[in-house]
């Protein structure tokens, strides 16, 4: 197990370095520069050149890459070209919204999908199953920004229970902050839950057909113990894979949902930074998000071992 973990960690680092190169090169070929965007169309050549020098945009690509990686290694993320504030500070503020949002959405989608998927599997072909499949179909087809607008329409515009968007900040208290995240998390969670419910259902159906389930039943175990002790545990392997993948989708979905609910999170920052060619922010953000996704995949890999000892390598 230790060797396996160490090897996976090594792969994690290598993937991260490869990702940093891809991110950097992709941004190099992107047309447009921050100085022109900051100074607009009327700026003189001289002013533009001065700003480029000040932002370090006139350095060769290689030395900028090395400086970036060296900065990351020492925890020095630099300053945003557009906002003029330290990137580390900005990331902290934004993550304080996006991480709880993703976690909340993750929790909601799992809480909806697991029971629904198991329920549908046990009612295969009956009305309950059809209803769950129908929900999953709608959830898959409807994009999360549409859910977002629908939720705003119902709960903010008509009922007035929630604000239509924005974030009061955690300093406003736990409940007001959580309330601001609830609708966006729900909007994010619904489509994720739809995918997950289908995976849980089919994984359950597969394991319920296995020989060891029949054996367990033949031993005289109760239906509930067979279902949760044997079938669900074994069905968790594909489910864990999907959960890992879904984290990446949550991050992507956050970009859109944060715009609909005007939440100042990481997704919104990423979008603004790309449009304004604040590339020092974009590269840190993209690397951070890739790091998260790679990390989650690593955790999923490690979790396989806990769920099912079989994939553990012999040597």
């Amino acid at each position: 197990m230790l060797a396996f973990t160490v090897r996976r960690l090594g792969q994690f680092l290598a993937t991260l370095i490869a990702a940093s190169l891809v991110v950097f090169l992709a941004l190099e070929v992107l047309p447009g520069d921050a100085a022109q965007i900051l100074l607009g169309v009327e700026a003189t050549e001289e002013t533009l050149a001065a700003l480029r020098r000040q932002l370090g945009l006139d350095e060769p690509a290689m030395s900028r890459y090395v400086a970036w990686i060296a900065g990351l290694a020492t925890g020095e993320l630099g300053t945003s070209h557009i906002y003029g504030t330290p990137i580390a500070e900005m990331l902290g503020d934004r993550l304080a919204i996006s991480l709880p949002l993703a976690a909340l959405a993750f929790a909601i989608s799992t809480a909806i999908a697991l029971p629904l998927g198991v329920f549908a599997a046990t009612r295969r072909g009956r009305l309950g199953d059809w209803l769950v499949i129908g929900f999953a179909q709608i959830g898959l087809a409807a994009p999360n920004f549409w859910f977002g607008v629908l939720l705003i329409l119902i709960f903010a515009v008509t009922l007035g229970w929630f604000a239509s968007g924005g974030f009061p900040g955690w300093e406003a208290g736990f409940w007001p902050a959580l309330q601001a995240l609830l609708l966006p998390a729900l909007a994010l969670a619904l489509s994720e839950a739809a995918i997950l419910a289908r995976v849980v259902r089919s994984a359950m159906l597969e394991t319920l057909g296995e020989d060891y389930i029949r054996t367990a039943r033949a031993k005289g175990l109760s239906g509930r113990r067979v279902l949760f002790g044997h079938a669900l545990r074994n069905a968790m392997i594909p489910v864990a894979t999907i959960l890992g993948l879904q984290f990446a989708f949550l991050v992507m979905g956050a970009v859109i949902v944060e715009n609909v609910f005007y939440l100042p999170g990481v997704g919104r920052l990423l979008l603004q930074a790309i449009f304004q060619r604040d590339l020092v922010v974009v590269r840190d953000l993209v690397l951070l998000l890739s790091g998260f996704v790679i990390l989650v995949n690593l955790l999923v890999d490690l979790a396989y071992g806990a769920i099912d000892p079989r994939p553990r390598p012999a040597a």
Binding site: Y83, W146, Y262, P264, G265
Partner: protein
Amino acid sequence: MMNRPGALLAAALCAAVPLVGGLAATDAAAQAKTSVVIGMTLEPPHLDPTAGAAAAIDEVVYANLFEGLTRIDESGAVRPALAESWEISEDGTTYRFTLREGVTFHDGASFEAEDVVFSLERIRAEGTENAQKDLYAAIESVEAEDARTVVVELSQPQGDLLWRLGWGDAVIVDPASAETNKTDPVGTGPFAFDGRVQGDLIRLTRFEDYWGEPAALERATFRFIPDAAAQVAALLAGDIDAFPNIGAPETVARFEADPRFEVAVGTTEGETILSMNHRRAPWNDVRVRRAIQHAIDRRALIDLAMIGFGTPIGSHFAPHHPAYIDLTDTAPYDPEKARELLAAAGVETPIKAVIKLPPPTYARRGGEVLAAQLKAVGIELELVPVEWGQWLAEVFRDPWDFDFTIVSHTEPLDIGIYARADYYFGYDDPDFQAHIAELEVEAEPERRQELLVEAQEMIADSQVNGFLFQLAKVGVQAAGLEGLWRNAPIQANDLTAVRWE
């Protein structure tokens, strides 16, 4: 009006609400409030109007936080601000400003003649971040004669110097706080900065030691909502009191029908044009350009792309300006004539061309409409959507890789761009350049007027670009909110006169 393509969600949201009714928004607006929440589409990167060109900076700070020697009012006229009065020498090269007394900055520092000297010198300094440095290029020296008098010497007369000094780029800052204005702005205006949540909002509070008439509002919040559907929802939910520039014009009909809201349609300085690349044949042929103008049905374009908001223009000039003349008949919509002109110019149709479209609705939707109109005369456009960063790098700068683009030129009184041979559309006409040079140094109002009229005619005759329409300012605000600008002679949300009924 509603069944147009695009921004469907926003429209759907509008259509759905009357059925379920809106309960939340009414009360908040009805009471006599002393605070206001203003919605904006774009967030300012920082808050120093003397650095950078983002219009969103001025839309928050102009006249609210920062003031210049002069200011521009809702009608576009120049008014005294930190300068109480001024004298101009006979030859138009010396300006003697008398400064207002009893003015303090938000941090308590007093406003002195030295601050004016510092601020104006700073625009022209080496390594300046001022995006409009050229506007003040004629200033040769700035000196404080005494604590209340500043003398500005020009290298040549400049007819509109007072107007230029009214721009956000020339506001007066305190040397002590100038470097930190980006994150912690300190000005002399009726509102002081009270905090920012990046990506979300900026708060202002009334400055109690303001030299002039105090603002009626005690607090003001600017909130940034990029998504058109979210803008509508925020207004309907009562979370936003006013959106001075609403993102999706198709949502306006719904607000017009709702007594809780008022719709304010005004003008802007945005001449929206179909720019043509004069560095490429056949667009450098005036016959071809005239043919293109004949192929454009401006009214249909405005109706389809802008849901009817916008005023047709026939040259590069704002219809609300006193010197404006209507030149839309120079090359009226006439596809038959267009085809004849193309044939006469030896253009073999169908001819293919690339049109690059930046993000705003006027460009993306306008491009689709123009493609259909030009196709009817044998010009087939390939629509290439670009975002601003790309547009600046590929279209606005060398290599000028485009045949056409659609852009709204929002700088006020910017007909002078046609005198720059190195400008992105590449129009090089020595006669016009000489004409603008004459205008630059002319201070006599009547002569200036004549020169401006002639300038409009010259570029209309040469049909330099396809002249489409003047961009409208379409705002939605809660009923009872008064004093917001209807027109936008400069990009600003002046809150000094805003109050609740």
